[in-house]
Amino acid sequence: MTERNNAARRSGLKLSANGVQNLVMFGILIAIWIAGFIMYPKTFVTWDSIRTILVASTSVIITASAVTLVLISGNLDLSVAGVGAMSGVLFGLFTIAGIPVWMAAILAILCGAASGFLNGFIISRFNQPSFIISLVFKYFTGGIALIASNGLSIAAGMPGNVKDIAQTVFIGEMGIPLPVVYAIVIALIFLFIQNKTVFASQAYAIGSNIKTARFSGISTVKVITAAFTFSGILAAFSGVIIVSRFSVADCSMLPGLETDCIIAAVLGGTDINGGRGTVLGMIIGALILFTLTQIMNLLGVKIYDQQIIKGIVLILGILVNDTIRNKIRV
């Protein structure tokens, strides 16, 4: 028996299905970079251009780190844009009210955590479809943002050190924007979480087969609630960063964040139905998305036309995922 096993093992693939998918998407990223370089040899591969892509992708990379886990568990979080707006607005208001900037940021993030917690708890405890409940929370938190800001942009009265959170630190000549550092740190944290925690492993189980997860003694309520709480926290953090960058709190600060996160995750191999996907893949997906955006910007494509492209990319991404899955029979 063992000998038969050993023989089979030697001829088998050591790479997991996820690994193969990530490799393919990374190849696509390189291909897009090459295309960009060919189209704009002078402007594309400059530090400026790279930095633009990285900074633009911070919100998505930060938020999608948790949204990927939510997707893996078989759920959707459509509320992240609203949570981000709400936390950003609250952050702005807190600082205007005189609360020290770092404390205000933490409070705003706690509000995001509360929203995520409720969101995940309702979905898991009452067995409700996630897209409905998270849609409710999207408009719920969005509404709170609108009421708190009265629909206006908040800038007056914000202390100068609001900018500190998202400032650019200089090492010699190179300026490294802190948001990029945050994104890298958070991505690394969630890479760790996804690979090395029981929580993430249970999320995969729930997304793959929720009945089996229950039979195996996994608490679906705890895991799903935790996943949504994380996404609330990170969405809030993204909102705070945006406010910090521009010293303005506006309700429409993070347009389309939820769809961007989903696109990044899907491009990175996350299965819409749950059970598959990696944070590493999401990062690659986000980079693909924002490199494409950069190319489109250079090409002069308008923002709303980019939205159309994003919709098409989403559909294509899901199709490509399904095709790759069916071809890799590891």
Partner: protein
Amino acid sequence: MENHVLEIKNITKQFAGVRALDDVSFSIEKGSCHCLVGENGAGKTTLIKILTGAIKRTSGTVLYKGKEWDPAGTREAMQSGIGCLFQELNVVEQLRVEEYICLGLEETRFGIIRKKSNNKAFDMLARIDKSINPKQMIEELSTAKRQVVEIAKALAMDSDVIIMDEPTSPLSGEEVRHLFEIIKDLKNHGITIIYITHRLEEVMELADYVTVLRDGKHIATKLRSEVKDRQELIRMMIGKNIFEDYIPNKVNKDKKLIEVKGMTNRKLKNITFDLYEGEILGFYGLIGAGKTEIARAIYGLDTFDGELFIDGRKITSGSPQKSLRNGIAIVPEERRTQGICTSLSIVVNMPMMNYKTVTKYGILSNKSQRRLAQKYIDAIGVVCRNENQTVAYLSGGNQQKVIVGKCLNVSPKVLLLDEPTRGIDVGAKQEIYNIIRKLVKDGCSAIIFSSELTEICCLCDRIGLLFEGELKKIIDNDETLDTQDIMHVVTGGSES
């Protein structure tokens, strides 16, 4: 000249490693009630699936009304005249009775339903049961009445043959009588009924013909009048099985690992038994007997009235987590939907019931996970390319082995196994039996819930016989074991 509405000729169905049907041939008379009996795994369900177009035969022919019968799928089969009452009724709760019966059959003009088109429903329904109001919502009907509605729908679809799969399982005495009258009436109108049941008195009362299957083979088709009594049926169903494989375990009768007293819920009636240390206890019964319900109740998935003691401690409210902590693990009935996460690899599946063995200070160690998976792959003998293989691509037997590995990871004191070798090839079956025996020798006790008599008899020290949620008796697996008697009990026979 005999009038055969269905002729089954040399039907064989081969699954990977399992021959579910082996050269089965017999004929079904038009206008008769033809009962199909046999143990679980005898091939009844497979045959029905072929007749209803759910699966394709490997070889052989089926003639329906003299012509070759090869429907593309269940829809085509139903539209061509073979109706089926599945155990899971296919009614739509939010429709009215008449709407459901006429579903797909409405007379329409650009989608608009004409007033007259529901008359057919009234006629069909009135013929078989005048007490059901066609305007009622199906959600308000009892299971028995829903069955009647299904029959009416089959009639509305002009079915000549209606297959009923264990129809009386959810019915009460009065409702059973009513169903029998309906069947008699249907026969008078030339409809053929194929009736699958394990309740032999029903066969004796209802059947015009009886066909017995065993291990995928056709044993006999007889006129009911030629069958002397249920004992003869039982003899045909189980054949001459001599269980030589059974090896008794060293049972410690002084220590009770599990005590169940008066367990009662929706499906169970006052179940009382004990599990001793070192023994393999079996529960045998046919469909609906309550096997899975007992397993679920012990494991904490279902609530019940009564008392449950694990290792002397009383358990008040249960959950899978609590059971696992108490040392009880389960190999569930449905492998693919309850036992493993099919899209994940062996490595990820293995530690699911107990992450403590693969974590260090709370952090998951990939190396430990791989080592754990490897350990059980070797110990249990899972045939796979490597531990990273997605479990969906393993054979049924190997999937089951992975599930056993999951359970062993908990270091269980008691292992519950629900239909442990269903749909698994013969070779893998033996391997799993050996694994179970070794487990018990190493200190774990086991409860096996199965509807395969051979399995129960070669593994278990004591056997509990279930019928319709009641524990009829518990017998010892020794020289006094009488398979005739066992079948008699589990098919509803009364104590002699």
